[in-house]
C-alpha cells in the first residue's frame, strides 16, 4: 500500500505551520453539481483565511474528496482523510446519504464534521455529537412554505409535485402537506416523479385539471426549471413555490419566463446589503467568474464555522473543536449561525421572488 508517508507528518506538534481539513461531496456522478459548488465555496473561504495569515499563524489546507453521493464511497473518503491525511475536521458530507454513512464514524473517531447541506432530519442524530450542519432541515422549509401559502398568499387549494427518490424533496413535501392541511388548506394533488425524470406531462396534466392556486415543487433547480416550463405549457398558472434547492443563477436560464413570479424559501438573499453577503458574492464572482449558488454559500459557511471553531478552540484536538463548535455564533452568509441541541443551525430563512431574472426579497421567516 502507498500513502503511508503522510502518516509521519505530525499534526499536533507545536512547530506545525499547517493543518488540513477535509471535504466530502459528490464531484462526479449525477449529483456532481452540488459537490462542485460546495467545494468552490469551501476553497474560497480557506483562500480568504490563508490570505489573512491563516488560523493562529497556521496555513489551512483543504483536501476535498469525491464520494459520488454514495455512502460507501463517502465512507472510504472519510477513512482516507482521517487516516492518511490526518484532517482535523471535515466539511461534509454534502448529501444526506453520505452524511448518514459518515457521521457516526466522525463521532467514533472524534473528528468534527460540519455538513453544509445534508438536510435530512436525522442526520445529526444518527451521526452523533460530532456531526453538525449549517443548513436547516427539510421539514423546516415545508412548514415555512405552508405557513406562507396560507397566511400570506391566502391559498386554499394546493398541489405538490416531488421527487420520490429524494429524501430532501420528500421531506419538504410531507411537511408542507401536513401543515397546509392542518391550517385548513386542501392538497388536491400530491404527486411524485423519479430521480432523473425529464418529462412531467402526465402529472402536470392532472394538476392542471385540478385547478390549484399554489404548486409546490420541492426539488433542485436542475429539475424545477424544467417542471416550471412544462407546467406553464400545460396551462397551469398557479403560484409556484419551492425551497432552497431552487437557488442558483441557472434557475433563470433553465426556467426562463416560466419561473417569473415564482417564490421560494432559502437561506439568504444574495442581494442582501449585509457585508458578509456582499463580500462573499463579490469574492466568489472574482474567483470563479460566475454567480454563486446556495451550495457555494453553504460550503463557504460550513468552512467558516469549522475554522472559526478551530480558531476559538485554539487546538487541533477533535474534542476541543467539537466543544467550540457547540458554542458557535458566527456571522455567516446564510445568516447568524448558532447550533441547537441537535447541532443543526438555528437561523432565519428568507422568501424570495424571481423578478426579471433576478431575485427579490419578499419576506423573512424567523427561526
Amino acid at each position: 500500500a502507498c500513502g503511508e508517508k503522510t502518516a509521519a507528518t505530525p499534526t499536533t506538534a507545536p512547530a506545525v505551520k499547517e493543518f488540513t481539513i477535509g471535504g466530502i461531496g459528490p464531484l462526479t456522478g449525477g449529483a456532481a453539481t452540488y459537490g462542485q459548488s460546495v467545494k468552490e465555496g469551501v476553497e474560497l473561504y480557506v483562500k480568504e483565511v490563508n490570505a489573512k495569515g491563516g488560523i493562529d499563524g497556521k496555513t489551512v489546507k483543504v483536501i476535498f474528496e469525491d464520494d459520488q453521493a454514495d455512502g460507501t464511497n463517502a465512507s472510504n473518503a472519510f477513512n482516507k482523510l482521517v487516516e492518511n491525511d490526518k484532517v482535523v475536521g471535515i466539511v461534509g458530507a454534502v448529501t444526506s446519504g453520505a452524511a448518514l454513512a459518515t457521521g457516526p464514524k466522525g463521532t467514533q473517531s472524534k473528528i468534527p464534521m460540519v455538513s453544509p447541506s445534508a438536510t435530512e432530519p436525522t442526520v445529526t442524530k444518527v451521526g452523533g455529537d460530532y456531526m453538525f450542519r449549517v443548513c436547516f432541515i427539510d421539514s423546516y422549509q415545508g412548514v415555512a412554505l405552508a405557513n406562507y401559502s396560507v397566511d400570506t398568499l391566502k391559498s386554499t387549494k394546493a398541489a405538490v409535485l416531488y421527487n420520490v427518490g429524494s429524501d430532501y424533496s420528500k421531506g419538504i413535501a410531507d411537511a408542507f402537506k401536513s401543515n397546509y392541511e392542518s391550517k385548513g388548506g386542501k392538497v388536491a394533488e400530491f404527486l411524485t416523479y423519479n430521480d432523473g425524470d425529464k418529462d412531467f406531462s402526465a402529472q402536470l396534466t392532472k394538476i392542471a385539471a385540478a385547478g390549484v392556486d399554489v404548486l409546490v415543487l420541492p426539488d433542485y433547480y436542475t429539475t424545477v426549471g424544467l417542471i416550471a416550463k412544462q407546467a406553464r405549457n400545460s396551462g397551469i398558472d398557479a403560484q409556484l413555490l419551492g425551497g432552497d434547492g431552487w437557488e442558483s443563477a441557472e434557475l433563470f436560464t433553465i426556467g426562463g419566463a416560466a419561473v417569473e413570479g415564482a417564490r421560494f424559501v432559502t437561506h439568504y438573499f444574495s442581494g442582501d446589503e449585509a457585508a458578509v453577503v456582499a463580500n462573499f458574492v463579490k469574492q466568489f464572482e472574482a474567483e470563479y467568474k460566475k454567480a454563486p449558488d446556495t451550495f457555494s454559500a453553504l460550503g463557504y459557511d460550513a468552512a467558516k464555522v469549522l475554522l472559526s471553531a478551530i480558531d476559538a478552540a485554539d487546538s487541533l484536538d477533535g474534542a476541543a473543536i467539537q466543544a467550540a463548535l457547540l458554542k458557535t455564533n458566527v456571522e455567516a452568509v446564510t445568516g447568524t449561525l448558532t447550533f441547537d441541541a441537535d447541532r443543526t443551525a438555528v437561523k432565519g430563512a428568507v422568501i424570495v421572488e424571481v423578478e426579471d431574472g433576478k431575485l427579490k426579497l419578499v419576506d423573512k421567516v424567523n427561526p
Binding site: 462526479t28 456532481a32 418529462d199 402526465a202 426549471g225 424544467l226 433553465i254
Partner: protein, 291 residues
C-alpha cells in the same frame, strides 16, 4: 378528456424513446452489442448542437445537422477505438468496454463543460394546437414525425440497399461475409454511423422538448430506450418505434391513473410480462433454431 391528453403525452415521450431505441436496435441487430454508450452519444450530440447553435446563432436544421454529424463521427470513433479490437472476443467483453466508454463520455463531458445543466435555446418557438380533445405542440408533432420518417428510412436501407444486405450478412457471420467480399469494418462503421446520427437527432429533439441538457442526461432515457428496443423486439426497426411508444404510453397512463411513485416499477413489470408472453418482444419472431 384528460385521457386523450395523457395519451398524447405518452405518445410524445414514447417517440423520444423510439428515436433513441432505433440506434440501440441498429447496433444490436448487426453486432449483437448492447451499446451502453448510446445514451451518452446522444448527450454529446445535444451538447454539440448546444454549443454550435450558441456560438453561431444557428437555427434548428443546421443545429440538428451538426448534432447528427458530431454524434455520427463520435460513434464511428468509439467503434474504431473501443469495440473493433474486441470484435473476436466474447460479446460480454464488448459490453464492459461499452460501459467504460459510457463512463468516459459522461465524466469527460462533465470535466469539460461542468456538471450543471445548460438551458437549451428555443430553436423552434413552441406552438400549441388545441384540437378539442387534447392539445399538442409543434415539437411533439415534429418528434413523432421524425421517428416515423426514420423508421421508414432505416427499413429501406436495411432491406433494400446493398449496404443493408451487407449489414445483415455481417450480423450473421463476419467471416462468411468476408468471403463474399464484404468489408466488415466498413459495414460496421456504417452501422455505428447510422445508429449514432439517430442518437444525435434524438439528442436535439429531447433538448427541444425538455429544454435542459447535462452530461448525465443520457443515463435514464438510455435505459428506457434500450428497454423499449427490447420490448419491440431488438434488432427489428419498427419494433423500436412500437416499443418506445408502448413504454411511453404505459408509463404515462400509469402515472395518470395508478401511481406516480411506482410508475417505473410498473413499466418494468409490463416489460417482463410482455417478454414472458412473447419471449422475443412484440414484433420478434420466435425462430426455433434448426437443429
Amino acid at each position: 378528456m384528460q385521457f386523450f391528453q395523457q395519451l398524447i403525452n405518452g405518445l410524445s415521450i414514447g417517440s423520444i424513446y423510439a428515436l433513441l431505441a432505433l440506434g440501440y436496435t441498429m447496433v444490436y441487430g448487426i453486432i449483437g452489442l448492447i451499446n451502453f454508450a448510446h445514451g451518452d452519444i446522444y448527450m454529446v450530440g445535444a451538447m454539440a448542437g448546444f454549443y454550435a447553435s450558441k456560438a453561431y446563432n444557428l437555427p434548428f436544421f443546421p443545429t440538428l445537422a451538426i448534432a447528427m454529424l458530431a454524434s455520427g463521427a463520435l460513434g464511428v470513433l468509439i467503434e474504431r477505438v473501443a469495440y473493433r479490437p474486441l470484435r473476436k472476443s466474447p460479446r460480454i467483453t464488448l459490453l464492459i468496454s461499452a460501459i467504460g466508454v459510457s463512463l468516459l463520455l459522461e465524466n469527460g463531458m462533465r470535466y469539460i463543460v461542468g456538471p450543471s445543466p445548460k438551458s437549451f435555446p428555443e430553436l423552434i418557438p413552441v406552438h400549441k394546437y388545441d384540437l378539442g380533445l387534447f392539445q399538442v405542440t409543434n415539437i411533439q408533432l415534429l418528434t413523432f414525425g421524425i421517428s416515423i420518417l426514420l423508421v421508414v428510412l432505416l427499413q429501406y436501407i436495411v432491406f433494400r440497399t446493398k449496404m443493408g444486405k451487407a449489414m445483415r450478412a455481417v450480423s450473421y457471420d463476419m467471416e462468411a461475409a468476408q468471403l463474399m467480399g464484404i468489408s466488415v469494418n466498413k459495414t460496421i462503421s456504417f452501422t455505428f454511423f447510422l445508429g449514432s446520427i439517430l442518437a444525435g437527432a434524438a439528442g436535439i429533439m429531447v433538448a427541444l422538448s425538455w429544454t435542459s441538457i447535462d452530461p448525465y442526461m443520457g443515463m435514464m432515457p438510455g435505459l428506457k430506450a434500450f428497454v423499449s428496443a427490447v420490448l419491440g423486439g431488438i434488432g427489428i426497426i419498427p419494433g423500436a418505434l412500437i416499443g418506445g411508444v408502448f413504454i411511453g404510453i404505459a408509463e404515462t397512463l400509469t402515472k395518470a391513473y395508478i401511481s406516480t411513485s411506482l410508475s417505473d416499477a410498473i413499466a418494468f413489470s409490463i416489460l417482463i410480462i410482455v417478454l414472458l408472453v412473447k419471449p422475443t418482444g412484440i414484433l420478434g419472431k420466435v425462430e426455433s433454431e434448426k437443429v
